[in-house]
Subunit: 364 residues, 2 copies
Amino acid sequence: MTVLTRPILEINLNHLLANYRLLTQIAAPAVPAAVIKDDSYGLGAAEVVPLLYNQGSCRHFFVAHAIEGERIAALAPQAEIYVLQGIGQDSLEIFNSIPQLTPVISDPQMYDFWKANGKPAGKAVIHIETGLNRLGFREYELQQLNSENLQDFCMVMSHLACGDEKEHFMNRHQLENFEALKNLYFADIPGSLSASDGVFLGDKFRQNMVRLGAAMYGINTAPYRANQMQNVVTIKAPVLQIEPLSRGEFVGYSCTYRASSERKIAIVSIGYGDGIPRSLSNIGKVFFKIRGKLAECRIIGRVSMDNIICDVSDADGVEIGDFAYLADDFYTLDDMARDAGTISYEIMSRVGKNTRYLRQYIRD
Amino acid sequence: MTVLTRPILEINLNHLLANYRLLTQIAAPAVPAAVIKDDSYGLGAAEVVPLLYNQGSCRHFFVAHAIEGERIAALAPQAEIYVLQGIGQDSLEIFNSIPQLTPVISDPQMYDFWKANGKPAGKAVIHIETGLNRLGFREYELQQLNSENLQDFCMVMSHLACGDEKEHFMNRHQLENFEALKNLYFADIPGSLSASDGVFLGDKFRQNMVRLGAAMYGINTAPYRANQMQNVVTIKAPVLQIEPLSRGEFVGYSCTYRASSERKIAIVSIGYGDGIPRSLSNIGKVFFKIRGKLAECRIIGRVSMDNIICDVSDADGVEIGDFAYLADDFYTLDDMARDAGTISYEIMSRVGKNTRYLRQYIRD
């Protein structure tokens, strides 16, 4: 008799490191940088950064916010940490106290702010806009920089809008824009155009530095072919209860499911409070490992905060205390995201921040 | 010249406490209990529990997992803490070390486990199923309990499936089931049937104890009428950059937005990494406060991890460093949830767990 109550989040650091190394190899001779913003996409920067720094020899990290850089600076003492959201009044103190942090400056007003405050870090990365229309200097703004201004930058970067669609016209368009602007304004400093997805678009896209994020965490950033990356995330949760359901009975909030025949249901101890998308209501899947075989079962009714209900009528042998697998190598977060109508990045970011999981890091 | 980079999450503890008090008043003479599972729906149990305990005199708390109870037990030393997901091998140690934690037992196998391990806490709440078909003893399982078993329970609870729909047939059905089973098996112990939503369904639904969660956090759990609760959550994020957009230009990942005329866009420093639903892509709204007036602006293109892009063409006067409001009393999480195709509970739970926010608790 096993009774368990707590969901488990497994993060395979061996696979994460192997992905980093494979990406580094594909991208060579471009310098690899690791994107560890959003707490390493939720997987835990406190674990991921030392791994990549010590075992992967990674010396370049990207965070979104200065506060994220502050949290990991001591874990990677010889590394450069680039701050994508840049520098402002609300992060000045952090930049002043941690010289490892280099701001990524995306706008003339931010550039002026940085200069007016004594240029923390002494140098900056400049973000230029090439087609995404998100952060970055537009060309009319670059034209207003004089040659002295241009000396302030140690690297130029941009970001692809459609790097996960190999043949999208925007990729070529952004590459041409990037190279033209780089040649014109930043011929003497290194350039970085691509995140994980761009690594697979060919060597021109790799430039001098690649920013490895999603693919390192196991996400397929080249969905036009099978994933070359190893799966990093496993989510599983125990069955709390198994019950018969009579024909005509309703399940879950708002009675969105009604049994059209006798069913057997399992109540599983995980819900949207643990980051499982509520949009999987009546759509999602879980898997049980029964005598070495996988049994696929549907989520029925609404996903609630702490529980989901699954139809286990056809999964003979499922017992209380068994684990329902929400994500693993046979059904990855990419698969879950497709069923949930979103991208795995969003789910990973949500799942990883939940503190109710028993969190297990797998490493050699 | 203001340059800011970091999003802000404001949690109004005055409003939260006022909501708790109002709900307590409405539900009287039922005993109020506070539902603080999922880290107080993400808003921070470490802040919410002392507030309710010290200023609200709350002496009954509900968590989902034992680990959540462990984290707050010392903050409410004289309170009872009920653990909705119950007790298992993976939480036994916590129950044994913290006598304040009372398991909610929902299944015969869990009951046997609890007994076989010496009945931690000495007593338990029994969860009975009345129509939700989630956790709880079914009647055939209650029939197998003898009179000695029944002495083990200090309270009987169930949970409504459709408490937010005043006229739903399921409410009456569950109330009748609950009263029948309570009279038959648990006539001498207190009963608890309703969470926040049930408080508004009339005194029969309030039984002896009400479990106040969502409404206390400002969510409208009686959406068939105007919200009686005060708003608790404000989300705002600074504008990093403002740029013109030419006709025909694309915005954001996968080029999902294309400008049909000249526009002005603002890049705002918040994204799904901060819990903003990606399903708000091309649908969501933000608001600016300009010279005392609210300007509503649309989110265009995809919501990305760290940024959203807004059409500010019609918001004259918006500047870099101004705050875009994602949620506030004029556009609550309920409103955002409606636009995002989900419920505010899910968004609140996601937003609240993000550590990139500058988090500000408002209190007297």
